[in-house]
């Protein structure tokens, strides 16, 4: 199967500081790929580089076409939804308005009503809170809202930045379950960036390990899970 997203020698820098030093990775169409790494390894920057939110070098291809050099807004329009670090909630707007914004760039507006229904089915708690100001939601609910907002684009690729950050294990498990369901039922490919290596490796079918802006290991998630070095450093047993 051809890769949906492909990065070659991806570089990124903030001011003079280079954070990514030539990453190459791919996300298979219909698959879940994860990028693991410690704090500061460059995981978030990798996602930001895909969306051209930082100064980047190297090539990024989506569905065969180059997207490096395009604006973030145009990349979103191609069907790449990015659930950013910190969830990016519009705190003053209602839950429903947040979802409407998720669908803003969507070309195909048919089936919008059906999609709201589907989203509320995946995330029943959002349905209960649809008229509530989004800033009043709990952390877990806001994370669900962030994923839901991304899905309203009806994306082909979902970029997920540390959905587990600061959430209770039960909530994390729930979110991961929904991500898997979305991947399988809606055929949305996922690029997941995580510190929680154990859960990410369970979910993903392919994984990359990042250290200080370089890929140091990659392969099927099941293989990485068995690797001794990964087990000791990232899984902790």
């Amino acid at each position: 199967m051809p890769a949906l997203l492909e990065a070659q020698d991806l570089e990124a820098q903030y001011g003079w500081t280079k954070v990514l030093h030539g990453l190459s990775f791919a996300v298979e169409a219909g698959g879940i790929t994860t990028i693991l790494g410690a704090n500061g390894a460059g995981k978030t920057t990798t996602l930001r580089a895909v969306c051209q939110m930082v100064k980047t070098g190297g090539q990024v291809r989506f569905d065969g076409g180059r997207i490096d050099g395009k604006s973030t807004e145009d990349i979103v329009r191609l069907g790449i939804a990015h659930t950013p670090e910190g969830r990016g909630t519009f705190v003053d707007l209602t839950v429903e308005e947040n979802l409407r914004l998720g669908a803003y760039a969507r070309r195909d507006r048919s089936g919008l009503a059906a999609d709201y229904a589907k989203i509320y089915e995946y995330f029943p708690v959002l349905a209960q809170r649809r008229r509530q100001q989004a800033g009043t939601l709990s952390g877990g609910e806001q994370q669900m809202l962030a994923v839901a907002r991304g899905l309203m684009l009806r994306p082909r690729l979902l970029l997920l930045d540390e959905p587990s950050l600061g959430l209770a294990p039960l909530v994390v498990r729930e979110i991961f379950r929904i991500v898997r369901a979305i991947n399988q039922e809606e055929g949305v490919s996922v690029l997941l960036v995580e510190q929680n290596a154990a859960m990410a490796l369970d979910l993903a079918d392919h994984a990359y390990l990042l250290e200080t802006g370089r890929v140091v290991m990659s392969g099927p998630a099941a293989d990485l899970k068995k690797d001794d070095a990964i087990r000791r450093s990232y899984l902790g047993y």
């Binding site: 939110m53 979103v76 329009r77 950013p84 990016g88 003053d92 707007l93 760039a105 800033g135 009043t136």
Partner: protein, 293 residues
């Protein structure tokens, strides 16, 4: 009693004008977090353009519509050309740029049209409307009506249209908005355009009362600041209520407190700004965001 009602109505009329300009201020503030000090003078300049059209024989309501459209495009252009280069700059930089615009518009208007006051027509009949013993100026009532219509249109736009929602989103969280595919920078331009259009309406409503001259918006802009502060800079509804409140208060205090009279009226607006900032800094309708961290 008759005098009281009459003073209240004429307060509402000037209040409506403050409210329109305050609306424009609030709109730019909401979209960009910047108070546009040139708002009043942009409005003054639009009113001069309307005057030129009227001189050329264009009928009033056509002029009205054309001026609003020209002001919208002008506001959009000003944002693109002058404000955009300083978009990421500290707020103070942008404020200084708007102060520069204020001076530029005054000078250009003075240069083209001279500083001599010009009469500006009202679209409403000149005969006052009499109800019982009380006499209302038709222009006063008309100005109030137009302010209310504009508020409703603005409310509907921001509340129910996707574009309005996108503008609110862009103002609140530009990064997230970009990730939703919203062209944030254009939203700011649109905000400036809409604000300029509203300012133009305020200008055309006030000019028949104060006469047209390059400095006509000076005092009115201060009242508009007072209105926006009283109502809350984050609330369009607040700006309108604030405008009416300031207009009525100013009129009543001017009438009933003998040492204030007409000379010290402007002080009332400044006093209101200070009191509101001391007692309720977010204004009567301003939203303090509830946030769970």
């Amino acid at each position: 009693m008759d005098i009281l009602i009459q003073q209240i109505v004429s307060g509402l009329a000037t209040g409506g004008i403050y409210a329109s300009l305050a609306l424009a201020l609030v709109m730019i503030y909401q979209a960009t977090d910047v108070v546009n000090f040139a708002q009043g003078n942009m409005a003054m300049f639009s009113t001069y353009l309307a005057w030129s059209l009227l001189q050329a024989g264009v009928p009033y309501w056509l002029t009205f519509g054309a001026t609003v459209v020209i002001a919208f495009v002008g506001g959009l252009l000003i944002e693109r050309v002058v404000i955009r280069p300083v978009e990421g700059a500290p707020i103070l930089t942008v404020v200084i740029v708007t102060l520069g615009l204020l001076v530029i518009f005054t000078s250009i208007a003075g240069w083209i049209y001279s500083y001599i006051q010009k009469p500006f027509p009202s679209p409403f009949p000149s005969e006052p409307i009499k109800i019982g013993n009380i006499v209302f100026g038709a222009h006063d009532l008309g100005a109030i009506g137009i302010t209310l219509i504009m508020l409703v249109l603005l409310f509907l736009f921001f509340r129910y249209t996707t574009l309005g929602l996108a503008m609110r989103a862009a103002a609140q969280n530009p990064v997230s908005s970009r990730l939703c595919g919203i062209r944030v920078s254009w939203m700011l331009g649109l905000g400036w355009g809409l604000a300029a259009a509203f300012g133009a309406v305020a200008g055309m409503m006030v000019a028949p009362v104060v006469f047209l001259d390059p400095n006509m918006m000076g005092g009115i802009q201060i009242y508009a600041f007072a209105a926006a502060t009283v109502g809350g800079f984050t609330s369009p509804l607040g700006a309108v209520v604030g405008g009416f409140l300031v207009g009525v208060t100013e009129n009543l205090v001017g009438t009933y407190v003998s040492f204030i009279g007409t000379e010290l009226k402007l002080t009332v607006a400044l006093a209101m700004i200070i009191i509101v900032l001391l007692v309720k800094p977010s204004g009567l309708f301003g939203r303090t965001t509830v946030r769970r961290v």
